[in-house]
């Protein structure tokens, strides 16, 4: 179980809802993953319609919706999107995404921090997507974000934990959940993120773009569990040489 703001989740896998071949396949993948928190792009939603083919089924499955501000290039647009989503979806949860660079979709640290500060004041539960920058993550924590979502690698790149050493520092220093977002291309990447001590991971491309998204969702769920268990059990430290077992330590103990 882990907690974000006032909600407790048993699954540590968050899913994105984009890129699937159909809304139905997205729902099936969500179900197979056991995920309880799904992010969806506000710009994709037809907010004036009473029924939306993304939102309605997720609601029926009792999924916590995490609307995101993708498409926003600055704080102003992100805040506008957030207000729209809060009113239409009746949730103050928000995944804050500001990427002015449409090629690699790198998050803008300056606009993200400014928007996060304002959104918290406006009463939002803010989970910012950000670069794997330990100082930025502390700053986001200070302005009242409930979690941080640093990237493992560029969105959709499937490259795994390219930012590993920075993520280690972020996790070590964080007083709130660290959710590794973006770049996780294989279940083994997700397991590695959880072994580092991440509270959760968010996956979209690797599942949605897979030939069998439902099976892949299950595989990621297993990997997240395995990684978490390994983290709790305490990972063995890699050694340069084989270590002989303990006649000498037994002897030392007698001294």
């Amino acid at each position: 179980m882990f907690q974000i703001a006032d909600r407790t989740f048993s699954s540590r896998l968050l899913l994105g809802s984009g890129k699937f071949a159909s809304p139905l396949l997205m729902q099936q993948a969500v179900r197979a993953s056991g995920c309880q928190l799904v992010t969806l792009a506000i710009k994709r939603l037809e907010l004036t319609k009473p029924q939306d083919d993304l939102v309605t089924p997720l609601r029926n499955m009792h999924i916590q919706l995490l609307p995101n501000t993708s498409g926003a290039k600055n704080a102003k647009e992100a805040i506008f999107a957030a207000e729209l989503a809060r009113e239409a979806l009746q949730t103050n949860w928000l995944k804050l995404e500001i990427h002015p660079d449409p090629r690699y979709l790198m998050p803008d640290p300056i606009e993200t921090l400014a928007a996060a500060e304002q959104l918290v004041k406006l009463g939002f539960v803010v989970l910012p997507y950000c670069s794997a920058d330990p100082v930025l993550c502390k700053r986001l924590e200070q302005v009242g974000c409930v979690a941080v979502m640093p990237l493992g690698a560029a969105i959709g790149s499937n490259q795994g934990l390219q930012t590993r050493s920075m993520l280690q520092i972020i996790i070590e220093q964080a007083q709130m959940p660290v959710i590794i977002d973006a770049g996780l291309g294989a279940p083994s990447h997700a397991a590695a993120a959880m072994e580092l001590g991440a509270a959760a991971v968010l996956v979209n491309t690797a599942i949605a773009s897979s030939n069998d998204p439902v099976a892949m969702a299950g595989a990621f769920a297993n990997a997240v569990n395995a990684g978490r268990m390994a983290y709790l059990a305490g990972l063995a430290t890699p050694q340069q040489q084989a270590t002989a077992s303990s006649p000498f330590t037994d002897f030392l103990a007698t001294l």
């Binding site: 792009a41 506000i42 498409g71």
Partner: protein, 370 residues
């Protein structure tokens, strides 16, 4: 430094020669690379790449799915006016063409918007001929607020404008500007564009710079296939794209590679490009620029669209009418070019779903980019 200056340093003939001077082994080597240079791209355009087309296609498809998922955007064009002060030998809207001219009034525009919305379309491409005086900024400033109310995304394909004008259009709701160069070969350009502002090639070449400077979200590039050697033209387009991506890092880019279609009064095609070559060109662009949006219009047949869309295409038009008033006001008028795929948006969407692709009707909103 504008693109025009960089373009002047290019040697068309050298590009044309180089693009035929690759071995299949070189193409094979390019296909195993994760990141492509301009020279790699040129190899993919070469005749030597043709035997490897199915490999190119499968790599293109993998990159497209990874970047854009199993989705394809749907849009429709809204022709506002066929008035044109240019003389372009391949176009049915040219000044000397004896076609009935029409510019939609505001109430006619509204009627067309409603008809397009009734088709299920939410993303629209506004098209006009190029008539600065009668269909210029004043007209756009009147029309845009009306159109903006109906659609989540507005793309614009009109005459090149200046930076301040683009800035104003951005505020009024333009999300993307399409500026098809037609050809980067100056001699061919002069040959086809006889009269009017369009004959000013540098003004057109630098227009994407001005859109980028104005901070409009998306810039559409394109060449009209059939005017001259497509390989050299594609190379210059790729160079242009690379230049713009570095210069305007906050802009998105889209590509369109229409082939000349028969139009009323138009001449024959001087440099025809085959279906196979068109697919090669599209796949080469996907491999060169995985983030590039690529659209395919109803100029192409339903059969070809069905096979090419899953490989590399991110947006398709559907239910298109290519004359002002074509959806409801005056459906009998002459069109700019004849379309080949006349399926309704719903039929196109159903066909996409059958191929495991999710049709996306909306992916943008009016508050973004203002």
């Amino acid at each position: 430094m504008s693109y025009h200056r960089q373009w002047q340093q290019q040697d068309w003939q050298a590009l044309q020669l180089q693009s035929r001077n690759f071995s299949t082994a070189q193409v094979q080597a390019v296909l195993s690379q994760p990141k492509l240079t301009l020279q790699d791209f040129q190899a993919l355009l070469s005749p030597a790449a043709e035997p490897l087309l199915s490999q190119m296609a499968s790599k293109a498809q993998r990159l497209t799915r990874q970047r854009f998922g199993h989705t394809v955007q749907l849009f429709a064009p809204l022709y506002l006016s066929n008035l044109c002060a240019n003389e372009c030998t391949y176009c049915g809207f040219s000044l000397s063409q004896k076609v009935k001219r029409r510019t939609l009034s505001l109430s006619e525009i509204e009627q067309e918007c409603l008809a397009i919305k009734a088709l299920g379309i939410d993303q629209v491409l506004l098209v006009t001929g190029e008539h600065e005086r009668k269909v210029g900024m004043d007209y756009f400033c009147d029309a845009l607020p009306v159109i903006r109310r109906y659609f989540s995304s507005i793309q614009l394909e009109v005459q090149p404008l200046d930076t301040a004008e683009y800035q104003l259009l951005k505020q009024l709701g333009v999300d993307a500007v399409m500026l098809y160069q037609e050809t980067y070969n100056s001699r061919a350009y002069q040959h086809y564009h006889l009269k009017g502002k369009k004959a000013d090639m540098p003004w057109r070449l630098d227009a994407p710079d001005r859109v980028g400077q104005a901070g409009i979200d998306k810039i559409g590039l394109g060449i009209l296939l059939g005017l001259t050697d497509w390989r050299a033209d594609a190379m210059m387009l790729a160079q242009h794209l690379q230049y713009l991506q570095k210069q305007y890092w906050q802009s998105r880019f889209s590509l369109s590679v229409p082939r000349i279609r028969p139009c009323s009064g138009g001449s024959g095609v001087a440099y025809p490009i085959s279906d196979k070559e068109l697919i090669q060109l599209i796949c080469a662009f996907r491999l060169f620029a995985p983030e590039l949006e690529i659209s395919l219009s109803t100029r192409e047949s339903a059969l070809l669209r069905q096979h090419v869309v899953p490989l590399a295409i991110t947006s398709v038009s559907a239910g298109s009418k290519t004359q002002p008033g074509g959806y409801s006001v005056a459906p009998e008028n002459l069109e700019q070019f004849s379309i080949d795929d006349s399926r309704t948006p719903q039929q196109v969407a159903a066909a996409l779903m059958q191929q495991g692709l999710q049709p996306v009707w909306k992916d943008w909103d009016g508050y973004l980019g203002r």
